[in-house]
């Protein structure tokens, strides 16, 4: 490993993108992710790239669509209300199979909501916020180091599968500073892009990037081929972390900042005789169902903790599939789950289940 720096999460994302070879950034400022744009504005021109503050989020995502169509690495970032505005573009990108990286540093909603951290865009990110049958890979880092590593990985995944990859963090992750250790050389994979609109030079037929297919039979066929791709991603790209899973009876399922708070509860819980483990999904789509299966032997119950009304909860319930009880603790609007409240919930579970 190379250089070590104390960095804000948002800056680490931007630095990671540049290291991954991202040459274009289009965005519109919104708290709590504006430092990404600041960093890009300062650094991208120095590496021969283009930073452009668009007139709106809608414009920005369509610029991403355009740049991505040429096979260059491109990124946009925003926070919840801004990501809502980008949904139409995300659906078009999916329909045209144009790779791109989109960062959402989530804040409390709905509507303009607040600016404090939240995880209430889980449904929008994992179930398709735009129209049509499509998926995007959703990565959920939980430290500044992981923001860096997963942002680099996001570009690789986007190119490998010609898909949109969303890096989703909460306001805390964007704003906090931690030590980041940068690699001397990034593990960059760039497959050929024979589909890209780079100019045919009268040597090949035209490449056309479009999401319009008026023949139902053709459109269905394209959807089916994408489903095949999504299936492959589900098989190959599920990522998660298990902590203290050997013989735990109660499993907290949490991602991002909340997973870290959950982790800090586990030691105290053990001292009270509560044997608690943690499942931390790193990919939210594809959701790591295997992690749930893996702990089913010792697990008595699951506790999903989120900064939302219970969104990932539904994926946890689908994965547990009635085999064990699933409990939930959530805070909203920018409130962050407290250690003591998680602990109390675990005590109640133990009391109910014996």
């Amino acid at each position: 490993m190379g250089q070590k720096l104390l960095m804000k999460g948002n800056e680490a994302i931007a630095e990671a993108a540049i290291r991954a070879g991202c040459l274009h950034y289009f965005g519109y400022p919104i708290t709590p992710q504006t430092e990404i744009a600041h960093y890009m504005a300062k650094k991208l021109p120095k590496v021969g790239g283009v930073f452009l503050q668009a007139e709106s989020e809608v414009a920005a995502i369509n610029m991403v669509y355009g740049a991505g169509s040429t096979g260059t690495r491109v990124m946009t970032s925003s926070s919840s209300p801004g990501i809502s505005l980008k949904q139409e573009g995300l659906s078009y990108l999916a329909g045209s199979e144009v790779p791109a990286v989109v960062v959402n540093i989530v804040r409390g909603g709905p509507g303009l909501g607040g600016i404090q951290p939240a995880q209430s865009d889980y449904f929008q990110a994992t179930k398709g916020g735009g129209h049509g049958d499509y998926k995007q890979i959703v990565l959920a880092p939980s430290s500044v180091q992981e923001l860096y590593e997963l942002t680099v990985e996001a570009f690789n995944l986007a190119d490998r599968y010609r898909i949109v990859v969303m890096v989703m963090g909460d306001g805390i992750l964007g704003q906090m500073m931690e030590v980041v250790e940068f690699r001397d050389k990034e593990p960059i994979e760039r497959p050929d892009a024979p589909w890209a609109t780079t100019g045919h030079g009268c040597e090949r037929s035209q490449n056309v990037i479009t999401s319009i297919h008026l023949s139902p039979a053709v459109l269905e066929k394209m959807n089916l081929s994408r489903l095949e791709k999504y299936k492959q991603i589900e098989e190959k790209e599920c990522r998660y972390e298990l902590f203290n899973d050997e013989d735990a009876e109660f499993f907290i399922v949490a991602y991002g900042t909340v997973a870290r708070i959950a982790k800090s509860v586990i030691e105290t819980a053990r001292q009270e005789g509560l044997n608690v483990g943690l499942i931390r999904p790193v990919t939210l789509w594809p959701f790591p169902r295997k992690a749930i299966d893996k702990v089913m032997g010792t697990a008595k119950a699951f506790l999903t903790v989120e900064m939302s009304a219970g969104q990932m909860l539904e994926d946890v319930m689908l994965s547990v599939c009635g085999r064990k009880p699933v409990y939930f603790h959530g805070r909203m609007g920018g409130m962050v789950p407290a250690k003591e409240d998680i602990l109390q919930k675990l005590r109640e579970m133990k009391e109910q289940l014996g």
Binding site: L6, P32, I115, G171, M176, T257, R260, K263, S264, A338
Partner: protein, 179 residues
């Protein structure tokens, strides 16, 4: 050993940069660190706070609900965070602004008129450093050597000429005997 530190006061008192200095110096000491600021409209003239964790092991959570050390530069912050301090924890109070000591008996407190001392030095911006000095003296959270180095990283180059004075302010804080 894990230090969980909350620094709180008004926006503009250097609360966020004081936290960053601790985190930067802690990292240079080879520790695991995190720094989490309050962000948003309250930064502009309202209350500001930052949470710093400096530890020998990886930082579980950057979000604090208790603290081993507290630095406060206004009264609302003392009112809010006094209850968060661990038993035998330490509270450093800027007594030029906060007109009371801690109410609890199970924590240690130091009252330093930091803003007044800094103003006498010719720059109220040193108040945060004076308070950090006392904290470092009492709890050895970071080394002086790396604190000085951290100043060069955290402060913009146009302020580097102030660093000798910042270090002097730090030492005034370290040596301040209260009560």
């Amino acid at each position: 050993m894990t230090h969980e530190i909350i620094l709180a006061g008004f926006g503009g008192q250097g609360i966020l940069s004081a936290g960053r200095l601790l985190a930067q110096a802690g990292m240079m000491d080879g520790k695991q660190v995190s720094w989490l600021p309050s962000y948003g409209p309250e930064m502009r003239g309202g209350t500001a706070n930052s949470s710093v964790v400096i530890s020998d092991k990886p930082v579980d959570s950057p979000v604090l609900s208790n603290a081993s050390a507290l630095i406060v530069m206004n009264k609302p912050s003392l009112d809010k965070f006094e209850a968060w301090v661990d038993k035998d924890g330490i509270v450093i109070i800027d007594s030029s602004i906060v007109d009371r000591d801690v109410k609890r008996k199970d924590i240690e407190s130091f009252l330093i008129p930091a803003t007044k001392i800094a103003s006498d030095m010719g720059n109220t911006a040193y108040a945060n450093i004076i308070l950090l000095g006392k904290l470092i003296q009492e709890r050895q959270i970071v080394t002086l050597e790396n604190f000085e180095k951290a100043l060069y990283v955290v402060l913009p180059p146009k302020k580097h000429h102030m660093i000798p004075e910042e270090m002097e302010a730090l030492k005034i804080g370290m040596n301040y005997a209260d009560k």
